[in-house]
Symmetry: C2
Subunit: 345 residues, 2 copies
């Protein structure tokens, strides 16, 4: 259809500022005959303080009607740790079965990296999004006493692992290098590790062109700083994916340029796109936030909705902007304007 | 007492070579009136293949009689993943209640790092060693079927968390900067996360001179590459500690120089000292292994047994050797000889 019905969740802190730029670029890049409708939602700390709500069933029903969701960032120090993360972010990922958490890392020429020697970095992490240690399984007994016991249960199913592994193989197959690395800790977490490894090895037989590789998560962090060029596609569990994608962002241009998609490949529920960074309350409202990660998330959103040409145009605009930006300090708005001008031309 | 009764476990791969150098330096540095007795144990892949055994009750009884244990590396591709890790390494850590897993990271002048700009790195990670996701709790149902479910249970107790947090505060208190960072993921793993955070905050009140800090594990990996100078002492859970100490090793001179101690502070059981690296079967027997990590583990061993002067001498020898080594390629033996000469003089 020639319209996009988008749910917009600016959220907390810098979320407002970066989402505004994301929408600016989205409007600028879309063909004139595509109608962009947006509906803004007020989730986050403010609503939580006002109503005690994080994400209600009615909210989910309403969000469900959109083609996709663009999220800024959720989280504020005034809210106890875990309340918005579990009550909003993870609740939404689970409710909409966002099992493919897609996080590309590409170091562009001229972009600063903490690594010496400007290595080649161009890989994508496919992080499982609905299982592992993120399910909220577990509990606490004898809370607050010297005999407290707290457990966290990582839940892994053949169903959940196989679908994300298949998705990763298909992505690897479609890339020039066709290489897929499984990251886990199967020598210690042997129950989950063997499930992941066995399914990975079985599915590999259906993709004979894809070269496969296995790394323990600890070793993967070493290679991410000593030899990031070795990675093409990585598939991993929810927690390991959380950890290595922050590290991947750090080495490939910083958290200011790291995009992500929370994807429901079947299309049963809308997918959600968001920068990897958080709400950064310390710099909120000052025009200091880099909207690039949000703009790159808009590119992922466009690709997901079938606007491949437009997605590529946004990515090219960002690449050109990053490569040419030099040392100039620009405001959030200035970066957004520069990118909007590039995609429109 | 003026004797050290040491259990020596060379293990697999390069373990043999590096342990030989460790013992060379230990003999060279000890005062003449200290009697060094060593007993070698044959744990690892060879014994497993010959007998099916990894670590028996009789082995544990025998190991228990020593003052300390020096381990090279355990692991070989001929043994299924997990068998030696769970059946030997983790079994020993749990049996001897090695709850303080000590991993210092110090980048010496002139030593190569993948990070640009030779940052200042001098911190120590206190990793919990007997709980968390490492307990082996969990299981598998419907194995090998499309309905398989595999779980891993992270077990965290007030007892286990408090003792390691106290140990870390005491270490921070004894260092010039007096700073302690808790690393966890308390916004997602809320049961375990709140236990860790609450105990950390409570114990902090007893150490008013120690500055405290909290980072999610994903954010910690970012700072380890963008601002490692911010860390002094880190305390964290078993799995997060595994991951960040490999990354810490990578940025501070590489896995070839990363030492560790598996410490039982009460002295009820002997503590074990080992390089962080593995058995590296691809380079085993070729004299290519860097014994520095093992030698630095010997320094931790000496300090643990009360030989502070000797520990410092070993560390100074390593620092001088690393700083002065230049680009020369040296064999395992040559590095060991150079270090032995330095500590003896
Ligand atoms: C905020 C938190 C729930 C989230 C996660 O751990 O998934 C974040 O770190 C991320 O990576 O998107
Ligand atoms: C080999 C493995 C059991 C071990 C661990 O995960 O603790 C290793 O990675 C380490 O860090 O000592």
């Amino acid at each position: 259809s020639h319209s996009i019905n988008l749910a917009v969740i600016p959220g907390d802190g810098i979320g407002q500022e970066v989402v505004a730029q994301g929408l600016k670029i989205l409007s600028a890049v879309l063909p004139q005959d595509v109608k962009l409708e947006t509906e803004e939602y007020d989730f986050g700390a403010k609503r939580y303080h006002a109503t005690g709500e994080t994400l209600t069933d009615a909210d989910l029903d309403s969000l469900k009607k959109h083609d996709a969701i663009l999220l800024g960032a959720i989280g504020d120090p005034s809210v106890p740790s875990g309340v918005l993360e579990r009550g909003f972010l993870l609740k939404l990922r689970f409710a909409f079965d966002h099992h493919v958490n897609l996080r590309p890392s590409k170091l562009l020429p001229g972009v600063a990296t903490p690594l010496a020697g400007q290595p080649e970095i161009d890989f994508v992490v496919v992080r499982e999004g609905t299982e592992g240690p993120y399910t909220g399984n577990g509990g606490t007994i004898r809370k607050g006493t010297p005999h407290e016991v707290a457990t966290e249960v990582s839940v892994n199913t053949a169903f959940g692992v196989e679908r994300v592994v298949r998705d990763a193989f298909a992505r690897a197959q479609a890339r020039p290098r066709k290489k897929l690395t499984l990251v886990h800790k199967n020598n210690v977490l042997t129950f989950a590790g063997h499930l992941w490894t066995n399914i990975f090895n079985r599915v590999a037989q259906e993709f004979p062109e894809v070269t496969t590789d296995y790394l323990h998560v600890d070793a993967a962090t070493i290679f991410l700083v000593t030899d990031p060029a070795r990675f093409d596609v990585i598939v991993t569990d929810n927690l390991f994916g959380d950890i290595i994608t922050d590290l991947a962002a750090a080495v490939s241009g910083g958290i200011g340029v790291a995009a992500s998609g929370n994807i429901n490949p079947s299309g049963e529920f809308p997918s959600m796109f968001e920068p990897v960074h958080g709400s950064a309350p310390d710099i909120a409202g000052q025009g200091k936030a880099d909207p690039t990660a949000t703009v790159l998330s808009v590119a992922l959103l466009l690709r997901h909705l079938g606007y491949e040409t437009e997605a590529a145009r946004v990515e090219e605009a960002v690449a050109a902007d990053l490569t040419e930006r030099g040392d100039a300090v620009r405001t959030t708005d200035e970066i957004g304007d520069a990118l909007a001008a590039r995609v429109a031309s």
